[in-house]
């Protein structure tokens, strides 16, 4: 039993829980850690340890030691894997292809999402909830299946576009050639991503108090002026977030080109960096190389994200005057 002198208000609690104040205090301090512990455990097991392991592997490689009959041994090889990855023309070309793809896909997804969100927010728009649901729908369609759908729409023998072109006396449209392939892939990203980003931008538009718009209208601003001068600056944080996710997604492009590959021979087996990493790790048994390439890719994504954040922070807060 506790021998402390307890204030009357706490007496009831102490009676029910026969603990001293100091142990209860310690229990309270441990509570948040208990609640967070599953998350911390999974975070450690599936994020921190794999990252650490990837870093470790990226410095390891196989060396043949002891002349012609030597064993292949796994040893520390320093930055060799990084040098190999960065000088590998296929990997670098893959990075270049993702950047071209991203330069097309990210601005068009964000631009169209912003446009749709602004249109939905327009005071007089017919069929608003239907349009919103319809545009959002592809979000639920897996990338693989979206690629299959569009793949068949691109494939000359099943494409409606090519069908019409042939009926008109032309020839099939080649969606898998260069540079059409970039647009074909970007179109899949656009189709899948525009709705999700639109919803995020749209909801941040809805959270703006309507008085602001009314005041602007009384001052004689047109709907277009309101959209350009008031709404777009207000949703910039939402744009930054969606932009960030789009950039992260772009460099991780994998399932779309992998799915379209059987339909077209333009897409090589190492078309994007992740396909190259997969091939190194599982076909060529070159784990160190794959790990180094993963680290390069992750650093690239991180650098690009930070650059984007920095850029928008300056535009949002520094460009006010």
């Amino acid at each position: 039993m506790s021998t402390d002198v307890v204030p009357a208000s706490q007496a009831a609690r102490t009676a029910r829980a026969p603990r001293t104040r100091s142990t209860r205090h310690r229990a309270r301090a441990a509570t948040p850690w208990l609640f967070a512990s599953p998350a911390i455990a999974f975070f450690t097991a599936f994020l921190i340890i794999p990252i650490g392991y990837a870093l470790y592997l990226s410095f390891r490689g196989y060396r043949v030691s002891g002349g012609a009959f030597g064993r292949r041994e796994e040893t520390f090889v320093g930055l060799e894997n990084y040098a190999t990855a960065l000088s590998d023309p296929e990997f670098v070309a893959g990075l270049g292809r993702s950047l071209i793809y991203g330069a097309i896909a990210v601005p068009s997804v964000l631009g169209l999402a912003l446009l749709f969100a602004l249109l939905l927010d327009h005071p007089r728009v017919p069929g608003r909830s239907f349009a919103r649901t319809a545009i959002f729908l592809p979000y639920a369609v897996p990338g693989v299946i979206a690629s299959l759908l569009w793949g068949f729409l691109y494939l000359p023998s099943t494409s409606p576009v090519s069908y019409v072109a042939r009926e008109l006396g032309g020839s099939s449209v080649d969606f898998f050639g260069y540079p059409a392939l970039y647009f074909a892939l970007a179109n899949i990203a656009l189709w899948s991503g525009v709705g999700f980003n639109m919803i995020i931008i749209y909801t941040s538009l809805r959270s703006v108090p309507t008085e602001i718009y009314e005041a602007a209208r009384i001052d004689g601003a047109s709907e277009r002026q309101i959209a350009l001068r008031i709404k777009i600056p207000l949703v910039t944080p939402a744009l930054v977030l969606t932009g960030l996710f789009s950039v992260i997604g772009t460099l991780q492009l994998y399932s779309e080109p992998a799915t379209l590959r059987p339909m077209s021979n333009t897409i090589s087996s190492t078309w994007v960096p992740l396909m190259k990493i997969y091939q190194e790790a599982f076909m060529n048994d070159n784990l160190g190389g794959a790990a180094a390439a993963s680290v390069v890719l992750a650093l690239g994504i991180l650098a690009l994200s930070l650059l984007l954040l920095r850029f928008f922070q300056r535009r949002t807060f520094g460009g006010a005057a």
Partner: protein
Amino acid sequence: MLGAVYTLLPVAWVLVATSKSPRELFTTFSFAPGTGLLDNLANLSAYGGGQFWLWGLNSALYAGVGAIVSTLVSAMAGYALAKFRFRGRELLFSGILAGVLVPGIVLAVPQYLLMAQLGLAGTRWSVILPVIINPFGIFLCRVFAAAAVPDDTIEAARLDGAGELRVFGAIALPMMTQGLVTVFLLQFVGIWNNFLLPFIMLSDQDKYPITLGLYTFLSKGAGDTDLYPLIIAGSAVSVIPLIALVLLLQRFWRADLLAGGLKG
């Protein structure tokens, strides 16, 4: 409205194409309905001894279990981060935020190797366990717990003698329901759509989720156009439940939580 036409067009196409026999698929105009609907569905069901439906069940299992556990783990962590002041809180939170930026897919190869060392690669565990941690979900739960659960209510429950676990389970969780549905949906769709993780982890076709199954279909069907109608029918069938889910849960969906999180 033009946007709606654009997004619905491929869905309409796949539904129409499902109804075509193999010969019609390559000869008639794309949006003209065909006559092979029942044949295609029957062939699909028969493929690999009903393997297609097994893939569907696998997807539902992985996404369902993964998303429920993930939401619970995120809710607990988010609640702890929002409602307790403790040493190391800011550090923990920044660590988790940094986790949002880590490209998840890049982790897949080391995750596979670790799973292989534990002897778990190729099992169902290997595709469920890694998706339970969802840093963005924790972030959202923190925002939502901070907004939806008043400190006074928690304090009152404690004064009434409720233990911390009870306060969380009986009071905080119900108050956070709307936000949790959003986190659950995001994660469910995320797992359902995930391709690379099962692609790397699994080798037994009977454990494949539907995305991977259809992908192997297409790889096989590359030289064999007879499989195309099956792939198309499979795509159509697998799109339908997700569309239904989105329509059904749209009312609970709190996207403003996503937008609101930006200010927090």
